[in-house]
């Protein structure tokens, strides 16, 4: 969701960078991405020696807020959560048939999905190395299943390459590495790199190119049973008299490189997208719901925070209690963990240092669009043998993600029909009505799957900038602003500490909000207990 491309994203950004700025910029971006560290979670915090009766008020019941409440309560703190919405979970949520979703501007969507179908407008996948999220899923009994990111039989599509015909990922993957290997082998065999490498090394590289690039004995990448073993056959091997296979013909080298379709290989290779990935069975909101179950007694729904004050003796938070006649109340506690998104917090009256206030005001939010489309049948499985995974395109929708669940089932199914992050198309989609967004996603999608219009059943289009309780998807930091403000944002200010994906280096991912929360409670505990 908030992961941008990755989703956090960086994911979509990457494909955009390639499309707009060319390969050089893409490479630069990829390099910095490649260096992104995996999550550093090892264990939940051990908070011993809490002073009995110490109270903590938590603002927001997203994953950051609920991790904090869960751990602090275990450590002996008295916790309460104030939540604006009528449900816990924050951006961890799913939409199902019968749900209504109202956005800023007043448009109301009635989700028409069939029983059992769902759509994750926010987070939707969990990398294997997001160990905090996985830890809490395990601890709280949230059932997980594999989320398929990389599908070699899904499509990669460019409206300006191959006459707009989508190509199978495996074909582009095979041909790309085949031609790169062939070219490199050629230059090695012409001794063009002899200044760089020894004769021994040259032999090793040549061997590797032959193997990894599917090159023949003369180091050529061409139509053969060998290359078809990776890219697929013209006629696949069969049985009996139909046994013999027919090899397929590689796409032309020039077309492969100019198509830009290799960007998908790069995106799929990122640490955040590597196999294995997971999703909760039945919707991402199962995580939020599992936390909520543990925290029934401390979550106060429909409380709108208007002011956050502190002095030497404690914090006092003013809020409107919409669950009880919209009366204005003041909640007091010894400490406060505020997980309200900065898009909103920057407009609230919060009594913190000037430097923290400046940090709160320094971080913009991505508009991000996600569109869930329900179809009458799984044509991607039945007609095209695509089981989960993602097709990538240069069209505004950027990708189509097929459901990684209930494969081969009959009846309606929901796919992710668009995921836009913060490019101009994302802003444009945000300005459309929900119906216009859905139509635009179908108009893109039918260029990849001709069955789209015929099989379309219903849809829901979430523009995060118009989500009333978030007013944006997740934080966008610049290097400069991170340098200027990140530390000030994350350092406890007397009795108030902030948490959320915005206060992490894993922006837009649930892991970021959890790790930020853990760091916040460690700071709080140190301050409150005088320990450490």
């Amino acid at each position: 969701m908030p992961e941008h491309e990755t989703a956090a994203t960086r994911r979509q950004l990457l494909s955009r960078i390639g499309a707009v700025a060319g390969a050089g910029a893409l490479y630069q971006a990829m390099t910095s991405l490649g260096h992104a560290a995996a999550s550093d979670f090892v264990n939940p915090p051990k908070l011993s020696g809490a002073r009995p009766g110490t109270s903590v008020l938590i603002l927001g019941s997203g994953l950051a807020g609920m991790v904090a409440a869960y751990e602090l309560q275990k450590a002996g703190y008295k916790v309460q959560i104030l939540e604006y919405q009528n449900r816990a979970g924050g951006r961890n949520f799913s939409l199902r048939g019968g749900d209504t979703f109202e956005e800023l501007g007043g448009a109301v969507q009635h989700v028409g999905f069939a029983q059992g179908n769902y759509f994750n407008p926010g987070p939707w996948r969990i990398p294997y190395h997001h160990q905090a999220v996985l830890h809490y899923c395990r601890t709280l009994g949230v059932a997980l299943e594999p989320f398929v990111q990389v599908n070699h039989n899904a499509y990669v599509h460019s409206s300006t390459a191959f006459n707009g015909a989508p190509q199978r990922y495996r074909v582009v993957d095979a041909d790309y590495s085949g031609y790169v290997s062939e070219l490199l082998a050629k230059s090695l065999n012409q001794h063009a790199l002899d200044n760089e490498i020894s004769a021994d090394e040259r032999e090793h590289i040549l061997q590797s190119l032959k193997s990894c690039g599917m090159l023949d004995a003369s180091y050529a990448y061409k139509k053969s049973d060998l290359t078809s073993m990776r890219r697929g056959y013209e006629k696949p091997p069969g049985g009996g008299l139909d046994g013999p296979s027919i090899a397929s013909t590689p796409l032309s080298r020039g077309d492969i490189f100019s198509s830009g379709l290799w960007q998908a290989i790069s995106v799929n290779s990122l640490l955040n997208h590597q196999t294995s990935m997971f999703q909760p069975v039945g919707g991402m909101d199962q995580i939020g719901k599992a936390f909520q179950k543990q925290l029934q007694n401390v979550i106060n729904l429909r409380c709108k925070v208007t002011a956050i004050h502190q002095d030497d003796s404690g914090v006092s938070v003013t809020y409107t209690d919409d669950a009880h006649g919209s009366v204005t109340r003041i909640a007091k506690a010894d400490y406060c963990i505020c997980t309200i998104p900065l898009s909103i917090l920057s407009q609230l009256d919060i009594q913190v240092s000037g430097s923290m206030r400046a940090a709160i005001a320094a971080v913009p939010y991505a508009p991000a669009i996600k569109i869930g489309l329900e179809f009458n049948r799984r044509f991607w499985e039945e007609d095209e043998q695509i089981y989960g995974g993602i097709s990538f395109t240069d069209l505004p929708i950027t990708q189509i993600s097929y459901p990684s669940t209930k494969y081969f089932s009959n009846g309606k199914a929901v796919l992710l029909g668009a995921y836009l992050w913060e490019d101009v198309q994302a802003f444009r989609f945000a300005g459309m009505t929900p119906a216009e967004r859905i139509e635009a996603s179908i108009a893109s999608g039918e260029k990849i799957h001709k069955q789209y219009r015929k099989e379309y059943s219903s849809g829901v289009a979430v523009a995060w900038s118009r989500v009333p309780w978030a007013m944006g998807c997740s934080s966008i930091w610049s290097e400069q602003r991170r340098k200027d403000h990140y530390k000030n944002l994350c350092t406890m200010d007397n009795r108030i500490v902030l948490a959320g994906e915005h206060a992490s280096y894993i922006g837009g991912w649930q892991e970021g909000s959890m790790l930020s929360s853990i760091n916040a409670i460690e700071q709080l505990h140190k301050r409150a207990s005088g320990v450490g």
Binding site: L104, V363, V424, R428, S465, W477, Q480
Partner: protein
């Protein structure tokens, strides 16, 4: 009165139908137009809404209609280029010319009647350095 307002809206909409819409203004994910109206519809109305009256959620997207902060064109130009709070910067997506076009469009529509015109060279003065808005990938 209400009827009159509706008529005005209908009239205002008429000539628009023939003009390019925001989809045509994007080529290879870049905005190519300098039409302030199209730029507004593409980038701004997602938050500030089609009528520029903004929206009220937990917090608010400010109304650009009769907003005294538009009295000088350089302030909205600064905000569009650099962002403000949760609002992203647009300096990476728009030329000085395009930012001036948006500001001039907003300052002469939605109940605003400013007569002075913001020049692209005025925008250049408030544009952040490319370095300062270089995004982080994480």
């Amino acid at each position: 009165m209400q009827k009159f307002a509706l008529m005005m809206i209908a009239l205002a909409c008429l000539p628009n139908a023939a003009r390019a819409d925001s989809a045509d203004a994007i080529t290879k994910n870049k905005l190519t137009t300098t039409d302030g109206r199209v730029l507004y519809q593409t980038l701004c109305q997602g938050c500030h809404m089609a009528d520029a009256r903004g929206a009220e959620g937990v917090a608010h997207f400010p109304s650009l209609s009769e907003n005294p902060k538009l009295a000088s064109g350089s302030y909205p130009a600064y905000v569009v280029a650099n962002g403000f709070g949760g609002m992203p910067w647009f300096a990476d997506k728009l030329s000085d010319n395009q930012i001036a076009a948006i500001v001039n469009y907003v300052r002469t529509h939605f109940g605003n009647h400013y007569t002075d015109v913001l020049k692209p060279s005025d925008v250049a003065k408030v544009r952040p350095s490319a370095e300062s808005i270089k995004p982080i990938f994480d």
